[in-house]
Symmetry: C2
Subunit: 599 residues, 2 copies
Amino acid sequence: MHKPEVKVTFQPSGRSVFVLPGTLLLEAAGRAGIILQTPCGGKGTCGKCRVLIGGRSVLACQERVQEAMTVEVPETSMFEAGQQILTTDSGEKATVNPFVRIIPFALEAPTHADPRSDTERLLAVIGVDIHIPVDVMRELPGCLRAHQWRGRAIVAGRRLLALDCRAQSSGVYGVALDVGTTTMVGTLFDLENGRECAVASRMNGQIAHGDDVISRIQKIRESPASLQALQAAVIETVNTIIEDLCRQARIAVASIYELVLAGNSTMQQILLGLDPSALGEVPFVQVFDRAITHPAVRLGIHANAGADTYVFPQIGGFVGGDTVAGMVAARLDRQAKPVLLIDIGTNGEIVLSAGQKLYAASTAAGPAFEGARIRQGMRAAPGAIEKVILNDDVEVNVIGNARPAGLCGTALIDAVAELLRTGIIDETGRIVDADELPATVSEALRQRLKPLENENRFELVPAEEAAGGEAICLWQRDVRELQLASGAIRAGINILLKRAGLQAHDLGEVLLAGAFGNFIRRNHARRIGLLPPLPTERIRFIGNAASLGAKMALLSADERHYADVLCHRTEHVDLSLDAEFQFEFSMAMMFPGPEADRT
Amino acid sequence: MHKPEVKVTFQPSGRSVFVLPGTLLLEAAGRAGIILQTPCGGKGTCGKCRVLIGGRSVLACQERVQEAMTVEVPETSMFEAGQQILTTDSGEKATVNPFVRIIPFALEAPTHADPRSDTERLLAVIGVDIHIPVDVMRELPGCLRAHQWRGRAIVAGRRLLALDCRAQSSGVYGVALDVGTTTMVGTLFDLENGRECAVASRMNGQIAHGDDVISRIQKIRESPASLQALQAAVIETVNTIIEDLCRQARIAVASIYELVLAGNSTMQQILLGLDPSALGEVPFVQVFDRAITHPAVRLGIHANAGADTYVFPQIGGFVGGDTVAGMVAARLDRQAKPVLLIDIGTNGEIVLSAGQKLYAASTAAGPAFEGARIRQGMRAAPGAIEKVILNDDVEVNVIGNARPAGLCGTALIDAVAELLRTGIIDETGRIVDADELPATVSEALRQRLKPLENENRFELVPAEEAAGGEAICLWQRDVRELQLASGAIRAGINILLKRAGLQAHDLGEVLLAGAFGNFIRRNHARRIGLLPPLPTERIRFIGNAASLGAKMALLSADERHYADVLCHRTEHVDLSLDAEFQFEFSMAMMFPGPEADRT
């Protein structure tokens, strides 16, 4: 069951995006490629992300989309003026040097003295080492003669992709696609000037076949024919996004001359029709790791007949193209100090850059951060409690104009962090019994401790205020799930640090990527031990790095080479093989003690 | 209207070929890839090409196929024992180093310690720089796991073409195709050992659309949609030949992993779907000249899904891939002295090799050599007079067990050469009046001179002996047609010699290629001035050089490189542009004087 998405249009750029009701406006803006200033990290304290909705001034980091709306973005709120030019996470402008190039030509007509073949005549002007496929060669004689031997050659690398001999060119565009397990985002670029023209997002059509990659792999292992169904589902989503992009920009699909796709290894393999079954059992083997270029038309993707699809290289196991794209966007090997890049989701991908050498691992955090396996958990949708604050009593923020119905991932972290601080949860993750509560705990909070048979629980919302008429609680079992999820990621971090001979305090920065990473409270993530004990200012949200990396690779062939270089330098660490992982995991499941409150 | 072809089977090889009734057995054998010894040049004098038909001993150079038959070929009659191994014209064994290679592999299964991707695992064994297309990559995971990580990689150049993981391989084959305007011949080779497995030939299905290239080009110029119909016709013929080859060798079409095609520029362009219209008007521009490699499946050719089609490079205008293939087979630049290669047909292609530099031209000889535009002319089919000898009276040879019905090209040359010798035709090509006849002319011959109104004619067969009840004559106008055809070729030869600063006597050899070239009498061709005045032993028949070149390019990638090198060294001479051509043409239309009889 998925809610219908609503359209949010941003002015003055006119860009629009479809999002689920309840999505934070800041996130919607990011998906539309509009990066707002958030020096406070989205806490609602700095006021820099102020935007206007129907003349009403709101903070984009606090406001949630409820219905279709138009949002005015003042230039002062932009991360950088002229943001239509792609910038890297570090603010560096992306180079515009696309793999797909446009070469105008004006040839001399053949004469007795110069009867060269049509291909040699063209190649002498556009480059003698360019390959002309037969399909394009078929257009050549008619095209040249009908248009006075003038036109534009669309060249992809050393291949003549298409000829455009019309007087009025219809433009040369490309699409960068972030192929997420849940959400897919496409961005249309004009390849002649590198300008972003439209953004569109959709739920990945594969969701009907399973929520996470493991269930989709399982489905294919059980019935190999499902591979085609899953591939068709994601290709259909790609085509829906392309259609939307073309409608927004008022261009024909034939004007799309290249696609760049980044996804996790399961998504990339299914999209290419490559059986991911071997990812479903030890030792988690990928079909490929080098970047793949394949004709879009052969995948059933709607684009120019000569358009290629570039799919990012992969590192190993579940560390796929989205991680590589994120590494490219973060310029991960170019930082002065060691850097950790973390993308938290059902799978947590962790990359540690220690100068010339990089280490990457994926860890099965499980779906706790997405609200699954939590007794009263839910996705970040209307009705979800997304924030929990404990003072004398409990305060909660709910997504949308709705009564609270359950807990989403960020609220789970908030709740546990706050209960740890107040001593209601101890370092082992146990919700203490009433007689163990510290004296400092207020009476209101004490009242919320509701033991039930063998399981303690803490009431966040009383029954009379909850949507379902049933109290919303944090259950002991939920804390255990969070310990598993958080511990898996933290253990991964620790193993990678050990591999590199580093300690947490050596890290110059921790970069949080991905949708979830952008919405957790850094201090709380640190408090529960998910992140190492570093000052908050060294923990930075970098938005959808995978998507940014895909855009950069579309706009510059150099970025693809850089992706290869990064992959080559990165060692894939299979955590399940690491002798110390189980020990680290057990240790990381323990919460930090009260000293963590003083960091 | 085309006669049904009949099947000729050669023993002990078992190879068979379909030919028109009336085809010389020597030619049929050649089409089946069986080269017989013919030191006398097919005059029927040396007796070396002796074969057995139903126990009856005949000379293959004198016997014509009338109906389906089986022919026993004694080993002593073979050009070389073990002729299944391809030899070049000079007797040199062709290198077997095909572009398509088979690489067996046995991989280690993935383990915790070695979880490389399937592609990296394979590439480490077959070559890290080999490209694996997505279509083949899709087979990889299942194929490797179902067959204990063993199999054979079929590699074309640096591309993985297919995987063969079955225990019993079904073999790796290739087809070389000579795509003639009239006849197409395909030869199947086992690419693992270079052995020839089957030969099949068919009429080019395009014949229904016009007899020669000019009429087919004209058809496309008038109605561009005909290009598709003509392409479909030739592809259908290719598929019929492939089907026949596979049936003979009992293999599946999927076992054909590569095709090499050689044809004239019109044939090659139509086959690839490239509009040949610009060849139909000055300055006769080709669409391409470099060799083309294109997936067979994209042309509708039946072969392995990954098979490529290699099409020969072209030199310019009407000098196409068949000429280049012939140059490759003749090792044209490797002769000690200058060499002339001539392929006589509707278009005569002439190549002069003068050391490092080569010159090529095509000349529109017109269809006189094929019996067209000759008043009582016909193709070399049953009923055609194919040989004319003048002694005291006229003797003629007729193809097949039939009454004479008309003249074919070789007889036309014979008749004119003999009439020149006897003085019945003078140097200007005039059939003299009765009162001008030399005294040496016999009474019987004098009686055959039959003036009719304004046109002289010479009776070859009286009405009562002719099939149609009408005398078969050589008409004055026929002599004029021959003068035009012969003069065009000879003028071309002279222009090329001049370009190279050579004279006819500098030529070490004149090589005659193609079906017609193999059947003309060398002395007669020289007598009428078609060939320069060189000793007969310096004029050599080299059979179907284009077909041989195609086979060599299938069996060795080096030959393709050699073809490129030859093309690069060859200057295309457009005779229509040469200031001296008209003069040379006029001169060459004059027949040599009586001194030619003494050569």
